[in-house]
Symmetry: C2
Subunit: 124 residues, 2 copies
């Protein structure tokens, strides 16, 4: 991940922490068993979220099938809800289920103009 991506992921973890979630971020280097790890795992006693984080300056954000499948596997095994957390420059975080961002031809994509369709951090 880019330096900016890491900083934003840390900001997200802090924002969730301030909203009374306990948060664990995945270790930076992934060993073989870490392949499916989400970037952020958060719980508040009732809701559990496995979050894959993506940032963009403005271009559409694409996720690979392997990322989406890995996130789904981890979330299902753990007992968490899988979310894609997207953050465009000058915008707030927005969160989508994998099924919400699949295009007609089976790609996983978030365009900036569809940001408002996602959950906001206050909705988690």
């Amino acid at each position: 991940m880019t330096h900016k991506g890491v900083r934003r992921e840390r900001q997200l973890a802090n924002s969730l922490d301030e909203r009374d979630f306990a948060v664990m971020r995945a270790p930076a280097s992934g060993s073989a068993t870490d392949r499916d790890l989400p970037d952020v795992l958060a719980g508040n006693g009732t809701a559990f979220y496995a979050i894959e984080c993506k940032a963009s300056g403005g271009d559409p954000i694409y996720l690979g099938d392997d990322e989406i499948e890995g996130l789904g596997r981890f979330a299902t095994a753990f007992g968490a809800q899988p979310l894609i957390g997207v953050r465009f420059d000058y915008c707030d975080w927005s969160f989508f289920s994998p099924t919400e961002i699949i295009t007609e031809n089976g790609a996983y994509r978030v365009k900036q103009e569809r940001l408002e369709l996602g959950l906001r951090i206050e909705d988690l």
Copy 2:
């Protein structure tokens, strides 16, 4: 943590993974907001465990009040059960609740001869 401690923690994560838990290990370096992070966070869809890992060649294992309190804070906020995972050389992992290892004078200690009183990994 020692190199041996890290290796054992990784073995525990793998063992839980083989038992159908999804597992996240805490990043090695703790930033200010990471203070309360457990070593391992595991879930299997119904049970969630925040685990602090300790290894010893044979000497009793002691935990500080701050470690126990941090573990409790994270576990409560997240919605997980706090566990101390202890591993003595040539022995299997054994897991205790913080309240099970408090001594008469208020210290947190696990002696090797009391290992069998803990939960085994199969019990999680």
